[in-house]
């Protein structure tokens, strides 16, 4: 590995053309070798040159856009764009038509690709006056935030950021040509920069989980059993599903387990050592805007005992700061976490209202994460919750995620979400939505449990016991808006 992300992958293909790059489920889906992937990418690059010879303005190409179905054709297009220096917007296939159209317009994309029967189909887009601002210099990929409200924001990532991130990930996980890495996340997610792109850059094998079956415990367990990955990265949902599959898993080849995206309940965490007996466990903190920023390695004992895992050490080259208003918290205390990483975006595209998320301090651009953290007396930083999840109940600040944690810490509770809803008497009342793990538990018992561990105002006014799983959005996080519909 000595060049850039794209040049290293193409070099790996020349060196070991027969090696498997993208593995399908053994016995079901075909593998794609490095030679095949490179050939497909080169053909795609020639097609792009033919179709989109124009559109290269003074500041470079207008972006292309891809509805990122997880197929070899999509991955080859991404590789082709990386190699040719064409910016590419990756869109979730689950976005509605209107949102897709809005994002494509905001990014100023010149054409939109969809995968049809394994091949790319192109729709050329008008070069209207509304065709968005030029992407920043050096942009290769444009990802989107996964916010559950409103239109996602566009997050451009430069070649330098992608090169730096995939190099760090390779070193951190010891990726090489023998590595097998499970890719559970959808192709448009930032997690793929590690699962797929860092792996390919180091000549390893990516085990592609079919997004349509990504929530089936038996299918996922089969992938782990037959694919024998060394690295498994995912959101809490993945580990909950794997824990459900339990003994069928046989994850003894796994060396690194990366928990990302959210607080993983202790109930799920405590099963990890048994599922992955030889793995180092990592709590990874990051977001689309900055990519992985902090990592906390932990062992089985801490997985079972630690109430909230620390965010860990900043990855090399990353700076962190805790700010309470304008005041930097250097000792114990709490505030919003700011990070500055070598992997971060230069800023959102076409989001002037959100430009305050990025601010310059000490000659660096920092990203305001919106995450509320607490630095303990031990110097360790722990996530308290989103600043957005902070609500005022009867004049007292309550973080609803803290309440959820108290609930999900109990074996009787499979899932819990706490939402602040308007209340005619109190102004705002907390409602807890709880799915039990089959055990008999009543709302009154849950209330007693909360009372033992929470400030009185943080005890939910209402406990709703739910029969089925809580509704989730595309990242596996609970969809709070849909929950509210249960209260009338």
């Amino acid at each position: 590995m000595s060049g850039t992300l794209a040049s290293d992958i193409l070099a790996a293909a020349r060196l070991r053309p027969a090696a498997v790059a993208l593995a399908g489920m053994p016995g079901e889906d075909a593998d794609v070798s490095y030679g095949e992937l490179a050939a497909l990418a080169e053909r795609t690059e020639r097609t792009l040159d033919t179709l989109f010879a124009g559109g290269r303005g003074p500041r470079g190409h207008r972006p292309l856009a891809l509805v990122a179905a997880k197929t070899p054709a999509s991955i080859a297009l991404i590789l082709a764009c990386l190699s040719a220096g064409r910016p590419l917007l990756l869109l979730s296939p689950d976005l509605g038509e209107d949102t897709t159209a809005t994002l494509v317009r905001r990014a100023g994309a010149q054409a939109l690709a969809t995968v049809d029967g394994g091949r790319l189909a192109w729709t050329t887009l008008p070069d209207g006056a509304e065709s968005g601002p030029a992407v920043p210099e050096g942009t290769r990929l444009v990802l989107t935030t996964s916010g559950s409200t409103g239109v996602p924001k566009l997050v451009p990532l430069t070649a330098g950021a992608l090169d730096a991130f995939t190099a760090w990930a390779g070193e951190f996980l010891g990726l090489d040509t023998e590595s097998r890495v499970l890719n559970h996340a959808p192709l448009n997610f930032d997690l793929c920069l590690l699962d797929i792109w860092a792996t390919l850059r180091h000549g390893g094998r990516v085990l592609l989980v079919d997004p349509a079956r990504a929530a089936e415990p038996a299918y996922l367990a089969r992938w782990v059993r037959l694919g024998r990955p060394h690295v498994v990265q995912g959101v809490p949902l993945l580990f909950r599903l794997l824990a459900e599959a339990g003994a069928r898993l046989r994850g003894d080849a796994v060396r690194h387990v990366l928990l990302t995206g959210d607080h993983v309940p202790r109930q799920v965490r405590r099963q990890l050592p048994e599922l992955f007996p030889h793995a180092r466990l990592h709590n990874v903190y990051g977001c689309t805007e900055t990519n992985d920023s902090m990592v906390h390695g932990f062992d089985g004992a801490e997985a079972a005992d630690g109430e909230v895992l620390p965010l860990g050490e900043p990855v090399p080259g990353t700076r962190i700061a805790v700010l309470d208003g304008e005041h930097e918290v250097t000792g114990p205390g709490s505030g919003e976490l700011l990070v500055s990483t070598p992997f971060q975006t230069p800023g959102y595209l076409a989001e002037p209202a959100a430009s305050d998320r990025f601010r310059e301090r000490d000659g660096h651009i920092w990203y305001r994460t919106g995450d509320l953290v607490e630095r303990g007396a031990d110097g360790r930083i722990r996530l308290v919750g989103r600043t957005d999840f902070q609500v005022k109940v009867r004049g007292v600040r309550v973080n609803v995620e803290e309440v959820e944690r108290v609930l999900t810490d109990r074996p009787e509770v499979a899932e819990a979400a706490v939402v602040a809803l308007p209340d005619p008497e109190a102004g705002v009342a907390l409602h807890a939505f709880v799915r039990t793990s089959g055990a008999e538990v009543t709302g009154l018992q849950l209330r007693t449990l909360c009372a033992a561990r929470l400030n009185r105002v943080a005890i939910p006014s209402r406990f709703h016991l739910m029969a089925g799983p809580l509704p989730v959005g595309p990242t596996g996080k609970v969809d709070r808006r849909r929950l509210q519909e249960h209260v009338t």
């Binding site: 109190a426 009185r456 006014s461 709703h464």
Partner: protein, 91 residues
């Protein structure tokens, strides 16, 4: 219905919808467990005062007197005894 049952039923209906009345123990701490907030306590006291004809505002009561169903029943009983009436239902 006994006084205990009546008050339990009211508290469950108003503040713990969905909970079977028999699950709410007489000794359950309504304040510490957040069943009744300080704001709601005023509403509960008003209801008790109207329903059982107790002039709470003239009595020397503290939130502790309303901490549980048992405490509330004791308070009403004491008040009735002081007036020479009984809470024992005539069933």
């Amino acid at each position: 219905m006994s006084l205990n049952q009546e008050i339990t039923r009211h508290i469950v209906d108003e503040y713990l919808p969905g909970t079977p009345p028999e699950e709410l123990a007489d000794s359950y701490d309504l304040l510490r467990n957040g069943v009744v907030s300080s704001l709601q306590l005023l509403r509960l006291i008003a209801w008790l005062g109207n329903h059982y004809d107790v002039p709470f505002d003239e009595l020397d009561v503290t939130p502790d007197d309303f901490r549980s169903v048992a405490a509330i029943v004791g308070l009403i009983d004491r008040h009735r005894r002081s007036l020479g009436t009984s809470s024992i239902p005539a069933n």
